[in-house]
Symmetry: D2
Subunit: 168 residues, 4 copies
């Protein structure tokens, strides 16, 4: 599948799970705004778009979204099904995929990912509540969204630095 | 699920996919023997057993084995199904899980994992051939087996060092 | 150097930089207490001690502490000296070492590490202030302390799980 | 320091340690040629150049090269000095930096890095021999060179894929 078709597919899967690219851009803006007071949400949105054009990011995103969905539909075998449905704290594979996503922009996105994953800002908090209420399985989704926001933010940090240098 | 029950479950899943703990121990011995000429295959087998008693290792192993199986049975949605069935070289999620497994014994297992994954020694070569012949899906299996062997070998390296110190 | 001698050496280096094992245990307790209301600070302290008995953790800790010290004494060549002295946000090698430390207890410690590194709780906030005031170089130290606390906390999470299973 | 000045500085440091960008390109070509029989060494050389334009890669490269040099000049404190001078197998920080470098192009570069680090192809074998003969300290250098070659190769793999898609 071509990369742009896969991107479209992933964006639609995120949408079906209640996450828009603007939600991710909002998290990314919250992360990066303290360091750059001219940053607009539009720039963050564009950064999220660029991040989703990398195959090495699309694959772990796609994999995590599929596992969540299969879990929600009861289509995973036990004991994996229960582990994922109750978002077992020691599972860790969701964090591994998140790490794979943020790493593409260097290790500086790592702490932002960890921070978002723990603080459950914005859409992440809502997601978590939905899962606890027995609604949907978002075991991978929250890590994926946090990782994409952290990646988009790290990308902006690297670009901001490069831009400043050109001005100098 | 209790840890020892999960271990038993994972060992059985490996068996069903044609991999015994002795196969993994053999790879581990090949990795470690050049540095320790007294190392027996029995010690390697025991190291593999210990590695499979860690929950942080059992979870990625279990997840990878389940994805392979679902792919083989055609139970994953597209485009993920095709990506995994043809073991797409840029997929990378299999390596992410492998990395998560070897990391538990420090970064020294990392190069052994990469080496095995590339050289396709022993059972790894057979697996790969089976997949190419359209037999089974082993996209995650080969990384998992290589990572377990590398982890068991790194564990022995750390223990060997500790033992030598006690003698001194 | 024997492992226990190296541990002692690292503990002393931390002390010289103003960090006691109790400071790290305190951070670890803050991370883990919400999930375990019987957890004592003494248990956290013991977990920090165990974490510092692993060679794969002692090495990155030692390396980071040495780099900070050489930077403080102006003994690194440029441009690395300036990058480390001003704790350049895009440097990332400090986070890489932190990641190497937390990984030993699985990916679940990763988000705690990121969270601490961003929130600058307790001793981490003080450190950061000292560096900003031109006092000392703590570019690696804060990541090391956050990573050790996250590792000690992840270790307790895994053990707590194991203990509960034995009771059942 | 501006990014292009830092690149130049790093290239010169590599040169001083006996490694040219063509040496790295050669390793990269060996890795990638089996998958792409039209690949030229010139393309690999260009890929190495691009890889060295990323700040998130320049920083770990610079850090590793500086540590090797300080070790060679006896300017690191003990016990770190001895650990690095004898390229202690369990040290692992060199692999951590290598991992940080390859990760920028996704986890697919990981196995190539491990493979090169173990096989000691081309310049890597020579380096290793030099260190064993008591010549120079190349504890970080070999991992850095292997990681740069793996990164340049993974970058080409991603681009080759993208190019094929445009043709289709």
């Amino acid at each position: 599948m071509k990369k742009d078709v896969m991107k479209e597919h992933v964006v639609q899967m995120l949408q079906e799970r209640g996450v828009s690219l603007d939600d991710i851009a909002e998290l990314s803006w919250q992360l990066q705004a303290p360091y750059n007071n001219e940053l607009t949400k539009q720039e963050c949105r564009e950064s999220v778009e660029r991040v989703l054009e990398k195959r090495e990011i699309l694959y772990p995103v796609l994999t995590g979204l599929v596992i969540d969905k299969l879990a929600e539909e009861g289509k995973l075998p036990e004991p994996l099904l229960s582990v994922i449905c109750r978002d077992e704290g020691l599972y860790g594979v969701d964090e591994l995929l998140g790490l794979g996503i943020t790493n593409i922009y260097g290790s500086v996105g790592l702490t932002s990912f960890g921070y978002l994953d723990k603080m459950k800002n914005g859409i992440l908090g809502k997601m978590n509540q939905t899962q606890k209420n027995g609604g949907r399985v978002t075991t991978f989704l929250d890590d994926i969204v946090a990782a994409l926001a952290a990646a988009a933010s790290a990308r902006l940090a690297h670009r901001g630095k490069a831009k400043k240098e050109q001005v100098m």
